[in-house]
Symmetry: C2
Subunit: 388 residues, 2 copies
């Protein structure tokens, strides 16, 4: 059981400029740019949002802005203002904040709203919000008239570094998260760090867990950078934050370019910490733990498991623990209960034929896929970061 | 304004055998076979449905048969029986007959049923029924866990010659037909003419209209064949019916291979007669006219328009009229009202910038896309096949 190595031919190209970075996600005909900027949305020239949109779309007569209610007066308004001078008809659709909007009911309503506002193949859907809005609006775009063009404007750190990159869109079913969806690549991802100003600290930290993940799974120099610059990142200092977002997007873009539709196995490395995290989220109960918080604890359990199996050093675990703590993230969960978590893990999608399979660290910047992990070792790993 | 000609490189390959035909739809990695057989579903060897399924899928642990309630004891039972000896877990889902099943509500329910029966990436969805089942089940397959494998078992003539080929799947919204969907190619299309035994005559004739359409738009020798063999086709004589289905599938497969995602314009030729037909269906009111009946009348109006514009001969119109009449299809609609139909046509998707655009015949086997048709000519074409 092994993870295919990073391929040589695919890469995420980067073009750093003055206070901006542009990353190209290499997917042949479906390649697209990720722009990472600060205070740039309203710029009237080609470097502003409207200019980038024109460049990415060519002809476009109609933009449908689908936005999270929580950012309608901040990021959403900035996007709408930036389009005011354009010769484009604008429609606005608001979606209530929170995971419950990723439902079949809200999707059906959204489809009707798209019909009512006259969306057709020359329209573009612009999703402004966190992962919930990106996933829902992206799926609606993928399916309305069998495909509208789509632009992501992520406004949470998690959406900037994770959900807006990679082309996965979808909704939840009552019995399962992200059970329905489509692979649908955007034409443009527009990230302005100004949008983070209003994001609650806990949500911001949650996104940071995924940022740290990229350092562990495939970018050792970036892990070093995070150790040195964590204070500036916590202060949301623009340049450092842009760099952290940009390196994260590059990591994700590289993995996605190697394995766009989850067929080669390479994409599995993104699940580092996640088999534990999903079990933590599921047993903690809805809304108790933010996803990134669970990922932080999950990475701790995975690293302990790696140490126990002799795959990685104590030093790796020590550095990861220190960075997670410095980032203000939890490194343990007092109530983590192996008796509840292990059965959940056995049902996880990443489990093949009922055998527990984990993405585990080898050294900072490198992970492996380990099958057939003895259950007692899993239990021990959970226990090392709980009170039980 | 022109239609791209048939490309030389793409084609639908045919391998006729004793009493079966296999057509390959050439879509690179997504190529798949269409098997056109008679009395073959239950065969225990590799030429039966189960054998073909094994060959098309390789590994498969779970099949979900989604079937029209109307054929559950006939075609649906034959498919289930054919799978009984296989080492595959079988789930059954029944869908009520009729267009109303292509709804967001039924789709959401279907997604839940897929979840409940434990569908995962190693499952296959087998749609058994007419175009309604194929479109609904195909869209559910395209989107459940972002894509399950999919097999079409069409049981109406229309589904055999049209909806099961081409990869379009989808549902209706209250305000618009086929507004939501995905391009999702099947791994196999299995056609057994035995399934037609139970199909009401009116439904059968409705499918014949599309068969005649292929002759007019791109296969003149096939039009000749239909003129000669229409009696045997009306009797559903297996060999003749297989040939008619096979030539129709080849036509559609050729067009689809040239223009998989409706981007080059080639796929537009399939809309011959359809701009009029949609207006007829819309003004007749729901359920009054079957789709193929409207298409037959629509082709008459289109051919009259072609004659009036000097694009084709009287002789073409005469031959088309004779074949439609011999096929037992309507060639006129007494109540066709230009005052009602033209506004509907102006909103049709095939209308660019409000100007009326039509696929019109040049000679048997060849059509062109004609823009800017004067409205009075359209009115006259409608009048020539109505009492007004
Ligand atoms: N598609 C993918 O590849 C992928 C990857 C990871 C996660 N996801 C999905 O993403 C979702 C989680 O994303 P998320 O963490 O962004 O959640 P979210 O979209 O729910 O946003 C979190 C909260 O922050 C609020 N918010 C958003 N932007 C804000 C801003 N700028 N200022 C103030 N408040 C703001 C939202 O209203 C919400 O309450 C989940 O549904 C998850 O399944 C998808
Ligand atoms: N995807 C595409 O490319 C495409 C192309 C054309 C049409 N369509 C869609 O196809 C649908 C129309 O297809 P259809 O005409 O097959 O309609 P349908 O599926 O509603 O079938 C017509 C009727 O025949 C019944 N039936 C089906 N098979 C039978 C059998 N063997 N014996 C007895 N009764 C049987 C059904 O219960 C139904 O009442 C429409 O929704 C249309 O939008 C899709
Ligand atoms: Zn995550
Ligand atoms: Zn049709």
């Amino acid at each position: 059981m092994s993870i295919p190595p990073r391929s040589e031919s695919t890469s995420a190209r980067t073009r750093p400029t003055n206070n901006a970075t542009e990353i190209t996600v290499d997917l042949g005909q479906r390649s697209y740019p990720i722009c990472i900027e600060s205070s740039a949305t309203g710029r009237p020239d080609e470097s502003g949002f409207a200019g980038r949109l024109r460049a990415a779309l060519g002809d476009c007569t109609h933009a449908i802005v689908i936005q999270d209610a929580a950012i309608a007066t901040s990021a959403g308004q900035q996007i709408l203002d930036s389009l005011a001078g354009e010769d484009i008809r604008i429609s606005e659709i608001e979606v209530a904040s929170g995971e419950t909007s990723k439902s079949t009911d809200r999707l059906a309503e959204l489809w009707s709203e798209l019909l009512d506002c006259g969306a057709d193949r020359r329209s573009v859907v612009i999703a402004v919000g966190g992962g919930v809005i990106g996933d829902l609006a992206g799926f609606a775009a993928a399916t309305f008239t069998r495909g509208l063009r789509f632009v992501q404007v992520p406004t949470t750190l998690l959406a900037m570094v994770d959900s807006s990159v990679g082309g996965k869109t979808g909704i939840n079913l009552p019995g399962g998260k992200n059970m329905v969806g489509a692979f649908w690549q955007p034409h443009l991802v527009w990230i302005d760090t100004d949008f983070l100003a209003t994001l609650p600290r806990r949500e911001y930290l949650s996104g940071l867990a995924e940022v740290i993940k990229y350092g562990v799974i495939e970018d050792a120099p970036f892990f070093d950078y995070l150790e040195t610059n964590i204070a500036a990142i916590l202060e949301r200092e623009p340049q450092t934050t842009r760099h952290a977002i940009s390196r994260s997007c590059q990591s994700k873009a590289r993995v996605v370019a190697d394995d766009e539709r989850e067929t080669t196995g390479r994409r599995a490395i993104l699940n580092y910490g996640h088999t534990f995290a999903h079990a933590i989220e599921a047993t903690a109960g809805y809304g108790v733990m933010l996803h990134g918080e669970a990922v932080a604890i999950g990475m701790q359990m995975a690293a302990s498991l790696g140490v126990d199996l002799g795959l990685c050093s104590d030093e790796l675990l020590r550095r990861q623990t220190a960075l997670i703590q410095a980032a203000g993230l939890p490194r343990s969960w007092a109530e983590a209960d192996p008796a509840k978590m292990v059965p959940v893990m056995a049902h996880d999608k990443k489990v093949a034929h009922g055998k527990l399979r984990f993405v585990l660290p080898q050294e900072i910047g490198s992970v492996g896929l380990i099958a057939d992990v003895p259950q007692e070792k899993v239990v021990a790993a959970i226990r090392s970061w709980s009170d039980r």
